[in-house]
Amino acid sequence: MAAIGETRPVDQVNFLARLNNNRNLLGLLFMLPAAAILLLFLTYPLGLGIWLGLTDVKVGRPGRFIGLENYAWLFEDHIFWLSVFNTFVYTTAASVIKFALGLWLALLLNRHIPFKAFIRAIVLLPFIVPTVLSALAFWWIYDSQDSVISWILIEAGLLDETIDFLGQPNNARASVIAANIWRGIPFVAITLLAGLQTIPASLYEAATIDGAGEWQRFRHITFPLLTPIIAVVMTFSVLFTFTDFQLIWVMTRGGPINATHLMATLSYQRAIIGGALGEGAAIATAMIPFLLAAILFSYFGLQRRKWQQGGRDD
């Protein structure tokens, strides 16, 4: 008995010591809180959303499992398809322009300019202002009677009547895309600027000595070395744009005649305002494949180390 009494503490010490030394186990333990938060606040709502999309649940009334009926309905719903089309136009146009202008802005900011830090801070403003506020500002800018743009053009004698920014389907699409671009450029520009600053100046010096022009330096040094950052930035940019809600909701509520309804706004209209939670969840779930594709594109892009460093893929 005495022997056992003596060995037990030793066992315990051993166990704790082993535990302490087992990096895998410790790693697991340290990750547990983060994993729990992810499970509780991300996986569970996502799973619930997908499940709701398979039921006919309404706000305030439990539903039953109806399989893919919501999706079958949506498949025949031309407003749903219009929202898919709008979402793609919105995402593609806004992302491409945000990238082009953002890159341009980053290159400008990367030069030696007076008040560099101040200007860089100012550039971030559109990103800092709460979306709803900037949406309200655009709502006024695009007002059908009091638009400041129309006013200036009319005062300057270039126009006779106000521009119907949000009243014509294509005008409305262009207007909301412009607002999204204005809001999204700082994120792209500042992140790309960070990437630009990691490129060693010696490369440019060497290239200059070799007689490379400005375009060649950009094409063969800046751009290849920037690609990993571009991949990350554009993934995030596409995700943000694809799931945009506030700008549209404040400015047009999806109008005119649903010309600016995105999948996110349609989902809200049907689920929360219309009470058809199941159908709204199905619309939201239908966004997942597209978002997943964007993530996978970036993920595999980042995995290719050669491509990341500007080399060619084999």
Binding site: G60, D77, S144, T252, P256, I257, Q269, I272
Partner: protein, 439 residues
């Protein structure tokens, strides 16, 4: 509905904290006398939570809070009042019904009680008492209040939405008074457009103004979403006729009406840019309050013109007091709802609402609020003239969903902007409505 400007919201929000919401001695005495005789004696220790739709008229809110305060002092029932914008209020009301807990009474909107009738307390005794005492309910109030023969909510008010117009511009366009039929109305709109002072009606997803005028125009030509048996019949010759009319009407609108949400016409009208639109009394109230005398004096309100069907086909927004059957104090809740609708309180409520909100009980037709300013007069009759959005069918999920999904608004907008032919738009609306009704 949302016929308020941001300035108004800021004002009411700021003033709300300062407002006089305490019962006067006279009100308190009346409350004590009423409480002693009331057929609903509150349970001992009763407490109530009321969630109401956020006021947009400060004086209405004050009258409401003073009534609640008098009720608390007279009966000892503590009442907590929270308010919420109605787009947030509706999901909350639904969730309270679903989980069986939350506020005891919700001042909601539309026919939400019909989405979860089993969660509602039977308030037939309250409504029968009020109806008997105050000259009876208007049919629209009964339609919204009753389900299967019993009252499932107390219709508290109806918010009128009518034609707002500039007298001088309409007269210049050749009409001494505002047209009372749709043919003359179209002529007026065409003349207004020709003389450079166009009118406009919201064609965007405007849940208040958009729904009100588009349902009127649909019904005025005999079109309707469903028949009496809830069969979807929107794709009908009558609807197409209405849409052909809309096609002509839409050409006369002020540029930009296609993008209009609820607040746009208020703004355009107050700036003098828009000669005719549909709205609650908020444009006029704002003009009076802000001292815009030129517009306030030159504007007036009118009923919607009557179409080929030969009778008024208006839509106004109804508000119910919903008492949940999960309340622990049903008598206290019934007492409060009855108290709010009794003459002294309701008079003050109507007075404070300055025409925004109208009465569902006939006896209040004689209230001086309607006659002291002749421009309010037409709003007196909105309960008498209103149809429900479920017309001609029954209230419930399908009707609410079709309404919330802007099926009628979109159909009208498609034709008014020339995006679709009447036939195409009607076929499309039929398909959309069937999705909700054929479950």
């Amino acid at each position: 509905m949302q016929d308020f400007t941001r300035r108004e919201i800021l004002k009411t929000g700021a003033a709300a904290t300062l407002g006089a919401t305490v019962a006067s001695p006279a009100l308190l005495a009346a409350a004590r006398a009423w409480a002693a005789e009331s057929q609903w004696q509150p349970e001992s220790g009763a407490k109530l939570r009321v969630l109401r739709w956020k006021r947009f008229v400060q004086s209405e809110h004050e009258a409401f809070m003073a009534s609640v305060d008098a009720f608390t002092k007279a009966t000892g029932v503590a009442v907590r009042v929270d308010s919420e914008g109605f787009e947030d209020l509706r999901p909350k009301a639904a969730v309270a019904a679903n989980i069986g807990s939350g506020p005891d009474i919700i001042w909601g909107i539309h026919a939400d009680a019909h989405l979860y009738p089993n969660a509602m307390l039977d308030v037939s005794d309250v409504c029968d008492h009020l109806g008997g005492k105050y000259g009876g309910w208007y049919p629209i109030a009964e339609h919204y209040g009753k389900r299967e023969g019993k009252w499932i909510n107390v219709p508290i008010t109806i918010s009128g939405n009518l034609i707002n117009y500039r007298k001088s511009m309409v007269q210049k366009a050749g009409f001494e008074t505002f047209p009372d039929n749709t043919d003359d109305f179209l002529k007026l709109m065409q003349n207004l457009n020709k003389q450079g002072t166009p009118g406009g009606f919201a064609l965007g997803n405007a849940s208040g103004d958009g729904n009100c005028w588009t349902h009127w125009i649909l019904w005025s030509h005999g079109g309707k979403v469903v028949d009496e048996n809830d069969n979807v019949v929107i794709n009908s010759p009558e609807t197409v006729a209405g849409l052909e009319y809309v096609g002509e009407l839409g050409k006369t609108f002020i540029p930009g009406a296609a993008s209009w949400l609820d607040g746009h016409n208020n703004k355009a009208f107050l700036q003098g840019a828009c000669s005719v639109s549909n709205n609650g009394i908020s444009i006029y109230a704002a003009a009076v309050r802000e001292g815009m005398t030129e517009i306030a004096e030159d504007m007036d309100h009118a009923f919607y013109p009557v179409g080929p069907v030969g009778e008024p086909t208006e839509f106004h927004v109804a508000f119910p007091l919903m008492v949940y059957n999960h309340t622990n104090y049903p008598n206290a809740a019934k007492a409060l709802t009855a108290w709010l609708m009794e003459k002294e309180q309701y008079d003050a409520f109507l007075q404070g609402s300055v025409g925004y909100l109208s009465h569902p009980l006939r006896a209040y037709k004689d209230h001086p609020v309607w006659t002291e300013d002749p421009k309010r007069l037409v709003f007196r009759d909105v309960a008498e003239r209103s149809r429900s959005f479920a017309h001609a069918g029954s209230l419930g999920y399908a009707a609410s969903s079709v309404f919330a999904d802007f099926v009628v608004v979109n159909m009208i907008a498609e034709v008014a902007t020339g995006a679709k032919t009447p036939k195409e738009a009607a076929t499309d609306a039929q398909k959309r409505a069937e999705r909700y009704y054929n479950v």
